[in-house]
């Protein structure tokens, strides 16, 4: 197992603290201010994205799902384009097209985007993985998804081919046991999504998704396998969805004590840092996010000309 160096631990913690600050800010913002979009909170579920993204190179391709913001922060995005998008401002990553559901991308950082028809990124990630295989550029593609979309047909179609072609592809499942309001056990005879890997002849790995370091370590192995031309891996991170599917979800489908085993990923990671480093990094992250929030709020709103932008690329 490749344990992270102290500098990497610090970087992971800093990114997790930035994500957490944005998450808390968005929960407050949704409650207190008019918010036209849908916010799908990821607070408490930051460890899996932060740990996995730390195992990727900056030019690796990331196709994420739409809960929270930790994937984008983990892969290197700044808070401002994220908050700009969430607030629907011109300085958002989508330059005015945002407003709640995350579609931020950063081509230079390999952040390829999110499909709001959930679970739609499997074949797209296979596309970038095949591009890398043909070009021999050594890049890895990671398709992030929730357990709910493991029932998608394209999950199977894509992995059947990707395994046969030994594509540099990682399936990364965040299993929180709920698909919107449906319990996973109502639609799957197996509690473990990783079991599905057997049928494709690829490794299936289960990891504690609240522990960023554990996630980092298994992802490093999967990345090494992919880069070496040995093909895909399916990683299943067992995570806790602390909040509703969306901010304001009454969650009638929950047991009252669903958080009894909840462990905070920020606290788990803080225990690996020395002295008061964690407190210092949280303070720093809070300040960064506060500045970005003010800049996002002050930024101009999009005008209608945004509607007619980006439909076609003109050579």
């Amino acid at each position: 197992m490749a344990a992270p160096e102290p500098a990497l631990l610090t970087d992971m913690f800093h990114k997790m603290a930035v994500s957490r600050a944005i998450e808390l800010l968005m929960l407050r913002h949704t409650r207190e201010e008019r918010f036209s979009g849908w916010w799908h909170p990821g607070e408490g579920q930051e460890a899996a994205p932060i740990g996995a993204a730390a195992a990727l190179r900056s030019d690796d391709y990331l196709w994420y799902q739409g809960r929270g913001c930790a994937w984008a922060i983990g892969k290197g995005m700044d808070p401002l384009p994220i908050l700009g998008d969430l607030l629907g401002k011109m300085n958002g990553a989508t330059r005015g097209k945002g407003g709640g559901v995350p579609h931020w991308s950063d081509y230079g950082l390999g952040i390829m985007g999110e499909g709001a028809t959930l679970g739609s990124v499997y074949p797209l990630a296979a596309g970038s993985a095949l591009a890398s295989k043909i070009r021999k550029d050594g890049r890895v593609s990671l398709a992030d998804f929730g357990d709910g979309t493991a029932s998608r047909g394209t999950f199977h179609e894509t992995m059947m081919h990707a395994a046969a072609w030994k594509l540099p592809l990682i399936y990364f499942c965040e299993n929180n046991g709920l698909l919107v309001g449906t319990r996973t056990e109502h639609v799957s005879a197996s509690a473990d999504i990783a079991n599905l890997a057997k049928g494709y002849g690829i490794p299936g790995v289960i990891v504690d998704g609240q522990d960023a370091v554990a996630v980092y370590e298994v992802t490093v192995e999967a990345v090494a396998r992919a880069r070496a031309g040995e093909g895909p891996t399916l990683i299943e991170a067992k995570v806790t969805r602390k909040h509703g599917h969306y901010a304001g979800d009454p969650q009638h489908y929950r047991d009252p004590d669903y958080l009894k085993d909840y462990r905070d990923p920020l606290e788990l990671l803080a225990a690996r840092l020395s002295g008061n480093e964690a407190a210092r990094l949280i303070e720093q992250a809070d300040a960064e996010v506060a500045v970005a929030y003010e800049a996002a709020k002050a930024a101009p709103e999009p005008d209608a000309s945004v509607i007619e932008r980006d439909l076609y690329h003109v050579a």
Binding site: Y61, W63, G92, A93, T94, R95, G96, K97, H103, W104, S105, Y107, M112, G113, G115, A116, T117, S120, Y122, P123, L124, A125, A126, G127, S128, A129, L130, A131, S132, K133, I134, R135, S141, G153, T154, E157, T158, M160, H161, W165, R309, D310, L311, Y312, H313, V314, A315
Partner: protein, 327 residues
């Protein structure tokens, strides 16, 4: 520059081969493409380009189209032979959401070349799930380009344009014309630009606006009409997105009568949009309502005879044009 007489599918294949030679980011995928594909256009590709760029895949259309979207955004130029236009519906999310609007919704202004080949239309008993004309879907969902060549020359020239186009192209090959032959330029620089219609027959009495399988039928109808003293102009749109409105409106304002003919279903088919825009944009130049001819609004029967009875024939085109000329 020299020409060669060749089949429609072979010409499409030649366009692909020429572009693959010039650009190693192009790859092709589909069922059986390694062995030459269903309609033969991929013959010989694997021996020249290898299995990295010529890939067989399973019965997995959503995977193929989604892979095309992902590979294209990552800078490759995928060509997917979907086998049949009907399969667009299996890959609806991947084509009409992902290929069409991934860049738009992410605010990503990057080139995205992807060619999805949809063989469309009646081919002699392929049945209601292997003969659909699905091109109207590409007109309805913004973000795609849509072409339908009617000649071997255009099949080659539009394929080359599609592979140089920095946006996804739904390339509809016409199954009913798959065995037709025609003169094809061998010049590797020859292309047919996307968005340019061709006037196949000049005329002064009425305009038949058509594309795909109905082009040869409309031309035959025009010859019959000529013998009756009606001079019909025949416009082959070639591209539906973008559509060459300049060509259409110039013709209609000159002939004052127009009809749209296609093999797709009549109701909410491409002709509905074309007729609507003609009357919106050239109402005071018209002497008659804009007529539409399309397939009967029923699933296509398996029987090759009933199949032909459901789509416009030379007789029905001629009859409708006669009626239009008399209004």
């Amino acid at each position: 520059m020299s020409h060669e007489v060749m089949g429609y599918n072979a010409a499409m294949g030649l366009g692909l081969v020429e572009e693959m030679r010039a650009d190693d980011s192009i790859f092709i995928m589909g069922q059986g493409v390694v062995t030459g594909g269903w309609f033969g256009m991929e013959k010989g590709l694997v021996s020249e380009f290898g299995t990295d760029r010529v890939l067989d895949c399973g019965i997995a259309e959503a995977f193929e189209a989604g892979l095309a979207a992902g590979a294209a955004i990552a800078g490759m130029k995928p060509v997917i032979n979907m086998g049949f236009g009907d399969f667009a519906l299996i890959a609806g999310d991947e084509i009409y959401h992902k290929l069409a609007k991934w860049r738009y919704m992410h605010g990503l202004d990057v080139p995205m070349t992807a060619v999805i080949i949809f063989p469309i239309g009646a081919m002699g008993g392929a049945g209601p799930e292997h003969s659909s004309c699905t091109e109207v879907l590409g007109m309805h969902f913004p973000g795609l380009k849509v072409v339908v060549p009617s000649t071997a020359e255009d099949a080659k020239g539009l394929m080359k344009s599609a592979l140089r186009e920095p946006n996804p192209v739904l390339f509809h090959s016409v199954q009913g014309l798959g065995w037709s032959r025609g003169e094809v330029p061998l010049d590797p620089d020859f292309i047919v630009p996307i968005g340019k219609a061709a006037t196949r027959r000049a005329g002064s009495d009425l305009s038949i606006i058509t594309y795909g399988s109905m082009v040869p039928r409309s031309l035959e109808a025009a010859e019959r009409l000529a013998s009756e003293g009606v001079d019909a102009e025949v416009i082959d749109l070639r591209s539906l997105v973008p559509l060459d409105w300049d060509c259409v409106l110039e013709s209609v304002t000159r002939t004052h009568r127009a009809m749209v003919v296609h093999e797709a279903f009549r109701t909410a088919g491409p002709g509905a949009e074309i007729a609507a825009q003609i009357q919106e944009r050239a109402f005071f130049d018209l002497e008659a309502p804009v007529l539409r001819l399309g397939a009967k609004d029923f699933p296509l029967c398996q029987s090759a005879e009933l199949e032909q009875a459901a789509i416009p024939s030379v007789d029905t085109i001629t009859g409708e044009a006669r009626r239009l000329a008399a209004i």
